[in-house]
């Protein structure tokens, strides 16, 4: 076979591909987060591009990102400095990053796709407006109106969008307005559960930024960042390590913290509280943005070689890994920023340490079953420590539990009653939220005391 060229096969993408296909693999929530990521990158740029490690002293309190959601429109406005006309012409609106355009230092935008994909996911009538100051210190503004249907229809080969003049905004920043929403966006933005869940997601995934003062506002209400905390005492001490890793020649700073966040459950039977183990598991952050939260799947490693699957028994454990890199492209980010690139070397190396730490906890929860009372007493003495205050330590400390003493033969009881009656009784016992199991035990003790009395 000689490689003589016959013809060439056309591989150029179509506009429809970008509008209809690339929007399929990302959720609406994650698209909105992509827009926030861009604002945060701008804020970080404006405040001098520092790394977002646990110890970082960066103050973001002068930056505000505000989002308004309704069944007719989506609007995001920030005062993070804006994008320049030059950037808009050369880079911001192109699909995918052009070679030679460096990502923001210590940034969270890398693939050059987020803003366009988010806008297409949300609606058909889009306006991006920017007010900024360049070297000459004069404020300038422009806007880029995009009528998606027109753009798709236009026969011209060109993919370009027109840039037109615009009024200055109050502060330097970017505003993106989307109208003529897609039916999915229309439905979701008017759904109170979607909006509350989005708030929860923002409070969690931007917690590191929010705790540095960043103002993030949804429909007029400020989001306060989740405070990731461990439970510590003399006997329970979380692990905290840091090291430098390498990814294709780029240095990545890795911080890892893990330990008990709350006592494990008394019983591993599924109970009536759904999601009672919602907060536990592994968290991964890339340049400060949490991309994997409370993970209990193979992505962090549960259920892979030498690492058991998640089980309710392990609830109470929390681990966090922060990857920080000057070159964002070196991070184990996926394009949706909702998972981790499992093929990343630096991530694979971290996973071994994550596994060993997790296994220490798994062992503890096994031992604990044989000495439950002693364990519970020790756990109850542990106090909350904010993640930043955890001290460096090569490994986790967990209490030694007393040797197993023979226990009396237990009788296990199980019975059903209507939920309504259960809740009434829980209320009478002092707390309507008591787990059913607890109501059962207390009513047994109560009756025992009454009918049998002293042992």
């Amino acid at each position: 076979m000689n490689n003589q060229k016959l013809d060439s096969a056309n591989a150029s993408p179509t506009k429809e591909f970008f509008v209809n296909m690339i929007t399929k693999d990302i959720s609406l929530e994650d698209s909105i987060l992509d827009l926030i990521d861009n604002s945060i990158d701008a804020a970080k740029h404006s405040s001098g591009s520092q790394p977002m490690t646990l110890g970082s002293q960066i103050d973001l309190s002068q930056y505000t990102i505000s989002i308004k959601l309704s069944s007719n429109s989506f609007i995001i406005v920030d005062n993070c400095g804006g994008m320049t006309l030059d950037n808009a012409i050369k880079h911001a609106f192109s699909f995918g990053r052009k070679p030679g355009i460096e990502p923001e230092q210590y940034g969270i935008g890398v693939y050059g796709i987020g803003m366009k994909r988010a806008a297409f996911k949300l609606g058909r009538d889009i306006t991006v407006r920017s007010t900024y100051v360049e070297g000459n210190r004069i404020r300038q503004s422009f806007k880029v109106p995009i009528d998606v249907e027109e753009w798709l229809k236009s026969k011209i080969q060109s993919w370009d969008f027109d840039i037109v003049e615009a009024e200055d905004m109050e502060e330097n920043g970017v505003e993106i307005q989307v109208r003529n929403l897609t039916s999915a966006a229309k439905n979701a933005l008017a759904n109170p559960a979607f909006v509350q869940n989005l708030r929860r997601m923002l409070a969690r995934d931007y917690s590191l930024y929010l705790n540095k003062g960043l103002n993030l506002i949804v429909n007029g209400e400020r989001i306060s960042g989740l405070h990731l905390e461990f439970a510590g005492s003399e006997e329970f001490v979380p692990m905290r390590i840091s090291y430098n890793g390498l990814q294709n020649g780029d240095e990545i700073f890795v911080e890892m913290i893990g330990g008990m966040a709350a006592p494990p459950p008394d019983s591993t039977e599924p109970d009536e509280k759904q999601n009672s183990d919602k907060r536990f598991g592994w968290y991964i952050a890339c340049n400060g943005r949490i991309v994997l939260a409370a993970d209990k799947t193979e992505v962090s490693g549960w259920g892979t070689t030498n690492w058991p699957q998640w089980h309710r028994q392990y609830a109470g454990f929390m681990g966090i890994v922060l990857f920080s890199a000057y070159n964002t492209a070196a991070l184990p980010l996926t394009t949706t920023k909702r998972s981790v690139d499992l093929t990343s070397d630096v991530y694979k190396t971290a996973q071994v340490k994550m596994r060993d730490l997790t296994k220490e906890w798994i062992n503890y929860t096994n031992e604990r079953k044989q000495a439950l009372d002693a364990a519970k007493e020790k756990e109850a003495r542990a106090k909350a420590i904010p993640i930043q205050q955890v001290e460096n330590r090569e490994s986790i400390a967990l209490p030694k539990l007393p040797a197993v003493k023979p226990v009396e033969r237990p009788a296990n009881v199980q019975y059903s009653v209507p939920v309504k009656r259960m809740k009434r009784l829980a209320g009478e016992l002092g707390n309507i939220n008591l787990p059913y199991r607890e109501v059962g035990l207390r009513s047994f003790e109560y009756t025992y005391e009454d009918l049998v009395g002293e042992e």
């Binding site: 708030r199 939920v419 707390n431």
Partner: protein, 315 residues
């Protein structure tokens, strides 16, 4: 409790006013949406008050009352005021799914009002979810439950968690114990229930979604909450929304309805001064020869047309 408030307890004027407002509201929606042969579904108990209104005012023919107690069921059948009322025996969570599987019931819109005595609990929530997910298009649905704060936890600090368990995602994580105290919790309960219905419809992408229309707090001796709305098909959504935005819609009053227990003589005397552009003052009441609290005068003046006038029958 002073004895005047007890005398006419059976009358429950706030409840009557609320019922009248709701039926006026349904009446106008029924005309707007041109509902064809709707089915009325309720908890008629032995008095069937709402069923009488449904038949007389809304001219609904087919009606279903659900009754869970054995004796109550026999009594309900005995007391049923019209031949077209079917009394079904069983708890709502058992009867509703059966009704939703019945072809004669689901080929037309429903007007459903589950007027529970109990608080919003797991069972109520599951009924609401079932209804929002499965009721035929163009139905109007209402739910009434007890808003007494003690039913949601003895201590205010226990209530946010309880509400989160009940209403799930729509309750903000920031809900404070303070927002769950008497006087505040009622508004929150109503809003959470409405948002729960909206979210249930949106989560399943129900065409037309859920359009909130009823949000009434009232109290005779217990704080009660009535919430509800319309599940229009796609072509009626805008019509319904526009109509509800209009100022004539009275089913979301900004204040709770707490009506005085008036004697027939008092009510008739006050009524003879109304309507009256300037309103009536405490002095006007004194001139009639008796006296009333200022807020009671205000409530009567606002709702005199809905104030129950059938007290004579009870004597």
């Amino acid at each position: 409790m002073p004895s005047f408030d007890v005398i006419n307890y059976g009358l429950r004027p706030s409840k009557s006013i609320q019922r009248q407002l709701v039926f006026n509201g349904i009446h106008s929606l029924q005309a707007l949406m041109k509902l064809d042969m709707p089915l009325y579904v309720g908890l008629g108990s032995v008095s069937f008050t709402d069923f009488s209104l449904a038949h007389r005012l809304l001219q609904i023919r087919d009606m279903v009352s659900i009754e869970s107690k054995k004796i109550g069921y026999r009594r309900a059948k005995f007391n049923s005021p019209y031949a077209t009322i079917k009394v079904l025996y069983g708890v709502t969570e058992k009867v509703l799914p059966e009704l939703l599987d019945c072809s004669e019931a689901i080929n037309r819109p429903w007007i459903l009002w589950l007027d529970y005595d109990c608080e919003f609990c797991e069972d109520v929530r599951d009924d609401i979810r079932l209804i929002i997910e499965r009721v035929p298009e163009n139905s109007i649905v209402l739910f009434t439950f007890n808003g007494n704060e003690m039913r949601y936890g003895r201590k205010p600090a226990q209530r946010p968690e309880r509400l989160q368990t009940l209403f799930e995602d729509v309750v903000p994580d920031s809900l404070s114990a303070n927002a769950c105290k008497k006087g505040k919790i009622e508004v929150n309960l109503a809003n959470f229930a409405i948002n729960f219905m909206k979210a249930t419809a949106a989560n399943m992408s129900r065409p037309g979604g859920f359009v909130p229309a009823f949000n009434i707090l009232y109290s005779d001796s217990a704080s009660m909450i009535t919430v509800g709305g319309v599940l229009p098909n796609n072509s009626l959504v805008d019509t319904v929304n526009d109509f509800l935005q209009s100022c004539a819609w009275e089913c979301c009053p900004s204040e709770p309805i707490i009506a005085p227990n008036l004697t027939v003589k008092e009510a008739l005397a006050l009524q003879s001064l109304l309507p009256n552009g300037a309103g009536i003052s405490k002095n006007d009441v004194r001139n009639l020869g008796f006296d009333l609290e200022e807020e009671h005068v205000r409530v009567y003046e606002k709702y005199y047309r809905e104030y129950p006038t059938y007290a004579q029958v009870l004597i």
